[in-house]
Symmetry: C2
Subunit: 298 residues, 2 copies
Amino acid sequence: MDRIVRLLITGATGFVGSNILRHFSAQGADVAVIVRDHSNTSKIDSEVPHFIYNGSYESIAHAVDSFAPTVVVHAASKVLRTHKAQDIRALLEANILFGTHMLEAMAQAKVKTLINFGTSWQHYHSEAYKPVCLYAATKQAFESMISYYCDAEGLGCITLMLSDTYGPNDPRDKLLQLLLNSWKTGEKLWLSPGDQITNFLHVRDLCNAVEVAIDRSLLSPGHQEQFSVRGSELLSLKSFVALIEEIIGNPLNIKLGGKPYRPREVMKPWMGEMLPNWRQKIGLREGLEEIFHDPNRT
Amino acid sequence: MDRIVRLLITGATGFVGSNILRHFSAQGADVAVIVRDHSNTSKIDSEVPHFIYNGSYESIAHAVDSFAPTVVVHAASKVLRTHKAQDIRALLEANILFGTHMLEAMAQAKVKTLINFGTSWQHYHSEAYKPVCLYAATKQAFESMISYYCDAEGLGCITLMLSDTYGPNDPRDKLLQLLLNSWKTGEKLWLSPGDQITNFLHVRDLCNAVEVAIDRSLLSPGHQEQFSVRGSELLSLKSFVALIEEIIGNPLNIKLGGKPYRPREVMKPWMGEMLPNWRQKIGLREGLEEIFHDPNRT
């Protein structure tokens, strides 16, 4: 990063946020985190200042006023591929209210730069906006809130639109973890027919993208922009599994076609405009080799 | 209305919602209302079934399941031209969460038609989307939620985009009420310079628009559409005041230019696509004469 910034990070107890925290801490940046009051913070370095968001505006305003960041990286998110009716309040509070409270606190404290995260699921069938799921709709809804603060308060925001991310020590219950688990335990894994095109981005490449986005926003403040950050390899799920089998030198105990596609399965990824001045550095084979050659790390 | 419908109405304790309730009740339609647990329901006809929304999904699902509407008219809204930080939670709960709970309950009960209300303030400087205020942003955010239910659940929704509405017995603290109050009391009223173009729609014309929108949605289900419903007269605020003075035959005790325009004042109204097969019937002079010749009604 070219500039000295003070970063306030949300979502630092999650996979993406914790990697962003480590990335910028390792560079010697001044970082602080704000976490939900029910979050498990045991994995956050105790030397990192941390603030609590208890659902109130005041708790966020306190964090922003005390730490006085130059940039907020809003990685907090509640991700649900399918929702239940009882999830709706928590989904909206996590994905719209939390962020709007943050925007308001930034406006009042004159903090001008937000890095936010969206999802390629906002673009079902590659449309300008068609949400795959309600979670994706909440991400789009939050963009509408951001627009107000950009236009009325001169805030700048870059939203990085993600498809799948991966990396070591990923606790999320996603395809790669299921494959890794099946490899370790030999347990049979039932998958869909596997013709959907996947796209995986290594989380360290994502951290680089955040850095590029911060530089861009600081150099040209006051805009609301959205960019895709995604891996350059586009493999069918079938081929992705075959690549892993090649890396480990053995077939996995999986059954392709053993279950149907999910409702509203995304068969082809959205290919939105990429973040300028950023490119993937960690190829998919290299990233997977790191994980499958050193499985104890993950 | 051409068809027999069962209407569930939200916001029936407010000005717009209460007029919609009366309009359809007078036609003999089967109507029920769902009101917030803190709402004053004393003005709602006790024969109208009413359900309580206590902020939970279950309370809305109960209303939808029990009453089994064919159409929901979602007139509930928290309107704030300017917000304070402490308003944000209530604004999002009223304008996004309430409606999303309703959409989910409709999806589960296979209720296919929603009539919703937006605001011309979503279109500052007549842009496709630029919110005048945070309230307008919440209205736009809710459209993103509607999109999911239309696409994934086959719901149909028409949003009527409103500018100013008026009519008898309006308890809201808006320009017309301020003028009426100044006329009655003689109290001096300080206004902006008054060159902004106003647009007023009589609430009975709005009720007709709701009827047209219901017919449209029932005839061609499963779409998400937005239409402007607005008055045909476009007068500057100055000329609007002059029209009232002409009607009452006396000057009002007002000072144009006595205060500045509001921040982000809308000087020219948004002229979006009008609702097809609907037109204003009550001219502005006629509507104002009703109010100013019979001031005790208002």
